[in-house]
Symmetry: C2
Subunit: 325 residues, 2 copies
């Protein structure tokens, strides 16, 4: 017997329209309704027909982007590149800067779903948001582990962390510190710290990772960085998980009388366009930002079209040689 949408509606005790709204993620739906419909589909092993779905579905040609903030060289370039490629593929772009605010991210998400976007690309820095799980909207993530249904695009974080740490060790640093965001934030970027720890261990050095939360304001970051210098006076090398923080470490070090790279060697991460214009002296691990955008847009479009897509795509990094190592 072929299971039909009527069967699902009957078992779930809702209308056919409601089932199609759940399938196509349109309009307001309570969590209870979504669950009832999903449960019914599961127990009947209902496989929505792609063509049938397409008939129901009103394409909006809108894609939502949720990132921490475009006031940052990395996310600014990434969002600009995503927008350019989505425009070329016929999509308009809704943006939401969710920085520092899981509630804001949740609001965006609800609104974007109700605005009937065709899909989402997200790379926010907040913790787990339940809406991503209950929605069946096509979502692609950049550098964030959400759930196993949501594909992740990222730079080769492990290789980046390895390259950074080896650069510091090979240039003679003996007391190397690493900074990273909070460890309970589920992001492949944590592999940078893992690689740092592994390389340190293989050289019989003790790893120390200092937490600098991306969402902190600049004053708080500066205070924490000052504390770090007090806590590790022997520090002569540091691998900082993003270039803005690396710049802050550099400024603080200079104020404290350090000479870069003689007294302290610094490696950053990201290598965005404007960073390389404004602070080309910073040695950093360059993410392939334009390629990440390209792969993310392609993956989202494939997902919208119901194609098979890889769960994870990792893109190669390279070293930008400045003068800070």
């Amino acid at each position: 017997m072929v299971v039909k949408i009527d069967d699902v509606a009957r078992l779930a005790g809702v209308s056919k329209t409601t089932v199609s709204r759940v399938l196509n993620n349109r309009g307001y739906l309570s969590d209870t309704t979504i669950k009832k419909v999903h449960d019914a589909m599961e127990s009947l092993n209902y496989q929505p027909n792609a063509v049938a779905r397409q008939l129901f579905k009103k394409e909006t040609k809108l894609v939502g982007l949720i990132f921490p903030t475009v006031d940052n060289p990395f996310f600014g370039q990434l969002v600009a590149e995503l927008e350019k490629r989505l425009f070329d593929s016929g999509f308009k772009v809704l943006i939401g800067n969710s920085m520092n605010d899981p509630e804001k991210e949740e609001t965006y998400l609800k609104e974007l779903i109700s605005n009937q976007v065709d899909g989402l690309i997200v790379g926010a820095q907040n913790r787990d948001i339940s809406e991503y799980h209950t929605s069946n909207l096509p979502v692609v993530s950049i550098d964030r582990n959400m759930n196993e249904d949501i594909p992740v695009i990222s730079s080769d974080n492990y290789q980046g962390g390895k390259l950074a740490t080896e650069l510091l060790i090979n240039s003679g640093a003996k007391h190397i510190i690493n900074t990273n965001g909070p460890v309970n934030l589920k992001t492949p970027a944590n592999r940078r710290t893992q690689a740092y720890a592994d390389v340190m261990a293989s050289h019989n050095m003790v790893p120390h990772t200092y937490v600098i939360d991306f969402n902190w304001d600049i004053n708080k970051k500066e205070r924490i960085i000052n504390e770090m210098f007090k806590e590790y006076p022997e520090m002569d090398g540091i691998f900082v998980t993003n270039d803005m923080d690396a710049a802050l470490v550099w400024r603080t070090a200079v104020k404290l009388g350090y000479k870069i790279p003689q007294d302290l060697k610094i490696v950053g991460y990201d290598g965005a366009n404007s960073t390389r214009v404004l602070l080309p002296e910073l040695t950093t691990i360059e993410q392939p930002i334009d390629e990440i955008a390209q792969v993310a847009v392609k993956t989202l479009i494939d997902r919208i079209q119901g194609k098979e897509i890889p769960a994870e795509q990792i893109l190669p990094v390279k070293v930008w040689k400045g003068q800070s190592v």
Copy 2:
């Protein structure tokens, strides 16, 4: 006699619906239709009632932003701040990065109008786009003169240019160059160059303005900057119209063996957050970016609500003291 929408429709020879679409700027309308309706309204001296308009109008709570690119510290911060304030006022944000491409800007504009945004905030770097004139959509401009109906928000460009040039003269520079975008781009930012010329003249110095187009890629900019150094070997001071270009001038100067500020004094313009973290040594004229965003959003909302708004709002600048002067 009170003129009604029926009278306008009759005289224009169109339906009532078409008149309300022109009034509320909804759906596709040919230039001819818009003109016929406007002419009829004018000859009847028809005053659309705000409450009546509200009844027709379907608010979308969407605002479109058209800026050159968020891959730039100034526009990245500006768009982030606009988005934050629009979110707080209940609006979602559609973005378009129009850089280098008047056609793209035109496409955005058509699409945004057909997507029924409630309003637009624009600060693109392209030439005149005719759609802004035929549409009666609420529009606010940042640093761009469009037509007399569209209010402009900008920093005090004249005062900024004056402060920059005086800084250079007072620190002993004798041969001071200025850079700016193409003069035929209608932007209040040209007042920076006017102020530079005025201050130079009042000191009996000859002004030279070098054109660096914002839309050029970095290689072209570097080539032009290299030419500038060849053409003006006596240059010992420069007022660059944005900080990214100022950074390029600085890098080029250092490669050519100049010492900053001993051999060449540099003043930039913008003073965005990330520039001040990555290159705090650059002395620059700081625009009040957050305040510009705040005033632009307030002005747009006032305009959407049909309130009287000033044609131009100029916000004060200040000097960021780096080490390049």
